[in-house]
């Protein structure tokens, strides 16, 4: 649990983060969104004290984060940034091993961890471990960046626009990977982005920042239904609302009993993607299958239309 208590950061006369308080529940994904200069990155960087606050405090699992030296705090908190920030002079394996090495783990434990993480991110340890970052594609570098952040098994992972430099196809894959990883480790993730699509896709809760203040901190559905200010509404985009609503839920939740013709949709697919599949196939209904391939029922245009409507 991260408790942010009336935190403020000023540089000279400019207030970058203005008296922000929020509580981040453990094992959730919280996405901080906002325009550039809204203070979202600064807010995140105060959690691991890359930026020291002017006033206020931050508690991590009840302990103030100022209780131990900054570098020790940061070794316990994962940190991944846009453009991955890998060390170009160290191999992939050495990059991932950085924090465990700083913590003085035994060599065998480090090697096992590097292997485990590379495998988890679908990179063959024997092939990729000895390579240098510049020999990898952008998507692979990004995965190694996240793997390095997770190497010391942190409870908290901070991510600053981690997928900003990726092309749309690889970005979608990286987001799926992140959701799977979060489920796997139960990590508390705080992610900063300016991409609303990404926020709605990933977040358990979204914090919208504007001019250093949090204007709304709520679950995605809540934010869609009751945007706190005009700014939030603009950020969501009025025309996008029904689709954002659909993108939050999975097909599994929208499955109805009955049969349907056509290519089956996986239950884990978002309702938004199911809608597009229905429209594209020109059908009123499509069958839904579970992860193991069993038929669960069907998803219908009418059912999705009801779900896309403003909740009463």
């Amino acid at each position: 649990m991260i408790e942010i208590d009336s935190i403020t950061k000023r540089y000279g006369d400019t207030t970058v983060v203005d008296n922000v308080s929020m509580t981040i529940a453990p094992r959730t994904i919280t996405v901080i969104v906002g325009t550039s200069g809204s203070g979202k990155t600064t807010l995140m960087r105060m959690i691991n004290r890359l930026v020291e606050p002017t006033s206020g405090k931050i508690l991590i699992d009840g302990e103030p984060n100022s209780a131990i030296p900054g570098y020790e705090l940061r070794r316990r908190i994962g940190y991944a940034i846009q453009g991955h920030g890998l060390f170009p002079h160290r191999t992939v394996g050495e990059n991932i091993a950085t924090v465990p090495t700083l913590l003085g783990w035994e060599k065998s434990r480090i090697d096992a961890k590097v292997k485990e993480l590379l495998t988890l991110f679908q990179l063959d340890p024997a092939a990729f471990g000895p390579r240098y970052p510049h020999e990898l594609s952008g998507g692979q570098q990004q995965r190694v960046g996240v793997a390095r952040a997770l190497a010391a098994e942190p409870n908290i992972l901070l991510m600053d626009e981690p997928f900003g430099a990726l092309d749309p196809v690889i970005r979608a894959k990286a987001q799926e990977d992140l959701l799977a990883i979060q489920k796997h480790f139960g990590t508390t993730i705080v992610l900063v982005t300016h991409d609303m699509e990404e926020a709605f896709h990933l977040a358990d809760k979204i914090a919208v920042m504007d001019k250093g203040r949090i204007v709304q901190y709520a679950a995605p559905e809540e934010m869609l239904v009751n945007p706190a200010t005009d700014f939030v509404e603009t950020l969501i985009g009025a025309g996008e609302r029904p689709f954002r609503l659909l993108s939050i839920g999975s097909v599994g939740e929208a499955t109805e009993a009955g049969e349907a013709e056509g290519e089956a949709i996986a239950a884990a697919t978002s309702q938004r993607d199911a809608l597009s599949a229905l429209l594209w196939a020109g059908r009123d209904a499509l069958p839904v299958v579970g992860a193991d391939g069993t038929r669960l029922g069907r998803v219908t245009l009418a059912g999705l239309a009801r779900r896309a409507a403003r909740p009463q």
Partner: protein, 386 residues
């Protein structure tokens, strides 16, 4: 099949033709300071050998003008340089009258032109072969070995420059060691001071402009003027600091030369350290802090290894510059190869000037090759630099 012409080869061939047929190969002087008389290849070498050399040059011209394989050109260049080196030694024996110890024989413009042309062929071939750093250093060692063998075998003993050496063998090695100590010592001192200063300038932005400007101004002071400026403070130190004089610190001599070289060396070391550190990717630095490296770990684990090739380039500049500049130290009694250069100028004895100049150039050249190879190695294999 049409034969293709190598463009650079045409220029080299013209140099070869002029050097072999029109310019004098060797110069004969009755003693070390009278003007010399020119001797052509046929005059300078025993009958058969002179004709053989001319034939060899003509064959070389054909091979060089045509587009021959690079490896052929490399072998030709190296063999030709070796042949010239041996023949100039022979010409000395041939031209010097028996029992005459005053007569001097030295290479003349023809020899230098031929050597230059064949060196160009060799250098061109080497550049085209793109040798690995190790191969380049090995080649340098082989060439140095060949020159050492020629010197020891006595093949060049008849040449004027070695006659000058013969009468000063002891001083030569003394001055050589002084030269190396001056050049390397001031480099070591400059690295010890310049590296931390560069790191400080990188971290503290307020210092950067000031420090670099001061070092820039020092670079613009002419060396003689700097020696002059150092006489007063060093003289004062010698008088007032106990033990200073015992350590050789005086207004003139090796101390001001060392200090001057050290001051000149600081700018390249500091500037390249600052540039190298500034070139470290921002992301890597941010990530290093973000995952919990202390400032020290970040400096030694990330910043310095990544900046290392640029810093090494600075050290290369300093070393080559210092080997050349150390010659000036002789003006204020600091010793080094400059001693022979300035004595030679004073006595209008060109051979003596060469005795100081040739080893200086050779040292600088060797230092450049070794450090270039080191720089390339450190930037090619970034993982090994740490």
């Amino acid at each position: 099949m049409r034969l293709k012409i190598d463009k650079l080869g045409v220029v080299i061939a013209a140099l070869l033709a002029y050097g072999a047929f029109l310019a004098p190969f060797a110069q004969f002087r009755a003693n070390r300071i009278v003007p010399g008389e020119a001797r052509s290849i046929l005059e300078a070498l025993p009958a058969g050998l002179g004709a053989a050399l001319l034939a060899f040059v003509m064959i070389s011209i054909i091979l060089i003008v045509l587009k021959t394989p690079t490896i052929v050109r490399l072998v030709l260049g190296l063999v030709a340089l070796l042949v010239l080196a041996v023949l100039i030694g022979l010409s000395a024996g041939h031209l010097t009258p028996p029992e005459n110890t005053y007569a001097r024989v030295s290479p003349a413009s023809g020899f230098w032109l031929l050597s230059f042309a064949f060196a160009l062929v060799t250098a061109d071939a080497l550049a085209r072969l793109k040798l690995s750093p190790f191969a380049r250093v090995a080649l340098l060692a082989a060439v140095a070995g060949a020159i050492a063998a020629l010197l020891m075998s006595g093949a060049w003993d008849g040449l004027s420059i070695l006659k000058e050496y013969g009468s000063r063998a002891e001083t030569f090695w003394l001055e050589a060691s002084r030269h190396v100590v001056l050049a390397l010592g001031s480099l070591a001192a400059a690295t010890l001071v310049g590296l931390p200063l560069g790191i400080l300038c990188h971290r503290v932005e307020a210092l950067r402009a000031g420090v670099l400007n001061v070092l820039n101004i020092i670079q613009t002071i002419p060396s003689i003027a700097l020696f002059g400026l150092l006489i007063a403070p060093l003289g004062w130190i010698a008088l007032h600091v106990p033990g200073a004089q015992a350590h050789g610190i005086r207004g003139i001599g090796a101390a001001p030369a060392f200090v001057a070289l050290f001051l000149y060396s600081l700018l390249p070391v500091v500037a390249n350290t600052v540039v190298g550190l500034a070139g470290v990717p921002r992301d890597a630095n941010d990530a290093a802090r973000g995952i919990g490296m202390t400032d020290r770990q970040r400096l030694f684990g990330v910043e310095l290894p990544l900046a290392f090739p640029v810093i090494l380039t600075g050290i290369r500049i300093v070393l080559v510059q210092n080997i050349g500049l150390a010659t000036i130290a002789a003006l204020i009694g600091g010793g080094g190869f400059g001693v022979f250069v300035f004595q030679g100028i004073g006595q209008t004895a060109m051979d003596l000037v060469l005795l100081g100049a040739v080893p200086t150039v050779a040292l600088a050249f060797a230092a450049a090759i070794v450090l270039d190879a080191a720089t390339e190695l450190s930037s090619n294999k970034p993982g090994r630099a740490a």
